[in-house]
Amino acid sequence: MTTTEDPTVPPRDAPVPIKAIPQRHPWRWVSAVVLLLLAAMLVNSLLTNPAWDWPTVWQYLFSPQVLRGLWLTVWVTVAAMVIGIVLGVILAVMRLSPNPIVNGVAWIYIWFFRGTPVLVQIIFWVFLGQLYKYISLGIPFGPQFLYFNTTELIPVLVGGLLALGLNEAAYMAEIVRAGISSVDSGQTEAAEALGMTRLKVMRRIVLPQAMRIIVPPTGNETISMLKTTSLLSVAAILELFGTVQLIYGSNYKQIPLLVVASIWYLVFTSVMSVGQYFLEKRFGRGTSPVGRAKQKANLRARREGPS
């Protein structure tokens, strides 16, 4: 009989399907009605309360001044995260090193940069010029060859960027370390048994697998960084928040301008969440349910294809 030979085709005398009355969920309906009501109230107040001042929001949402601030926010976020991730990976690997000096340096770095407020760090970097007027290169305690004026070497924006990036590195280091530790030690042993050096084991075998653990909190950190850049406004850096602050400082329309900033922050955090989804899929190869479902579908297609 063909039906018994091919498991994908259901046998002719299939069992009678179960007919049962599905579970009822009355509270879902109740809660949906309540939420709809609340949403309607909110929309109503947004539309009817003149204090929201939507015309002003619309006026500034795409104004060149706000867009310039937005652009600065976005690239500072990206640049600070790049610094944070690169330095964070290095620090994490250092933390796991058997060399006590390397390990200790990383520990102290993380201890310091995680232990002081990022706002203080921003101000410190921006005003570094008051602490050290000149930075020079040369022999320690001996003659110096190159002199730099600190405020010229590290302009305000670079100082702010450094502050955010160096602070982020301390957090990223711990995230990466958690990711590395989550990889089964058998993976390292197998790779070492093949003759790989420690660095190669890390780069080719451990880190790619650690990414699955590292990516979700890194997405979190990036979203957090986007908003933390608003702290740069204390150093008179005109990123998104600083820009709207400047505007409402002169026209006193605080609420609509804060709405403008919030809308842009929301738009970009949403975009980042989408990016995070794709990154997670990419690094879940061979393990994640999403990736596996796709691979299974491929397999099925291949198996059914030639037969």
Binding site: A190, E192, L194, G195, M196, F283, R285, G286
Partner: protein, 263 residues
């Protein structure tokens, strides 16, 4: 020991262990292991769990550091360089270099889950030996064919059965052209119906003249394929000899006791 001594006269042993000691903290796991493995020989290690047989195997490619005695592979001390009567610890890079010639197969396969079977086999030749990808790929496909998995090359480990994963792991080790293969209970994590396919691959390998040290509970395999069988218990070698003799006529009560439980 007599067969080994006869062989030792005609050739140089590949692996020599003299009074190898190993401790984890206060626990002494190896209490003076002596062993020799000739080129082309299949040496089976047998013993109850906790007897130190896996630890000894891991010492051979320096996954564990020995605390006493001497252990050498192919005339090189494992983990050290000798100059005069002084021993120098090898650098990480040198240890890695020595490991190239020793293949290892693990109980839990330890395939790289983020790579397909093919990439698992190609990884070390490309990354460690610097082979070009094309050449490495052709060779990896040949090896996968040899272990009966030519049609599974683009599968990820999670899509393979335990037996198939272990065969990929063997192919991965063989891709480095090792002089010596270490098997650490290669069939212990497998469903019973999958054990045969892995043992078949190992049998072929032995027939091809590969030097192998096999920690196993498969008495049948040891009897049929093994050239020597070493029985270990509580960190010492209790007895060793030709597998058929040791299994049929164990001399030591501990061997007798163990065999009566597993046979």
């Amino acid at each position: 020991m007599t067969t080994e001594q006869v062989a030792a006269d005609s050739a140089v042993p590949l692996v020599v262990a003299e009074q190898v000691h190993k401790r984890f903290g206060s626990l002494e796991v190896l209490k003076g292991i002596d062993m020799q493995v000739m080129p082309g020989e299949v040496a089976c290690l047998l013993g109850p769990s906790g007897s130190g047989k896996s630890t000894f195997l891991r010492c051979i490619n320096h996954l564990e550091k020995i605390d006493g005695g001497r252990l050498s592979v192919n005339g090189h001390l494992v983990g050290y360089r000798q100059k005069g009567d002084k021993l120098y610890e090898l650098k990480d890079g040198e240890v890695a270099q020595r490991r190239r010639d020793i293949g290892m197969v693990f109980q839990r396969f330890n395939l790289f889950p983020h790579m397909t079977a093919l990439r698992n086999v190609m990884e070390a030749p490309v990354q460690v030996l610097g082979r070009n990808r094309k050449q490495a790929k052709d060779e990896a496909l040949t090896l996968l064919d040899r272990v009966g998995l030519g049609d599974r090359s683009d599968h990820y480990p999670s899509q393979l059965s335990g037996g198939q994963q272990q065969r990929v792991a063997i192919a991965r080790a063989l891709a480095m052209h090792p002089q010596l293969m270490l098997f650490d209970e290669p069939t212990s994590a497998l469903d019973p119906e999958l054990v045969g396919e892995v043992l078949d691959v190992m049998r072929d390998l032995a027939a091809g003249g590969m030097t192998m040290i096999v920690v196993t509970h498969e008495i049948g395999f040891a009897r049929e394929v093994g050239d020597t069988l070493t029985f270990m218990d509580q960190g010492v070698v209790v007895e060793s000899g030709a597998p058929k003799e040791v299994i049929a006529n164990p001399q030591h009560p501990r061997t007798r006791d163990f065999l009566s439980k597993v046979l």
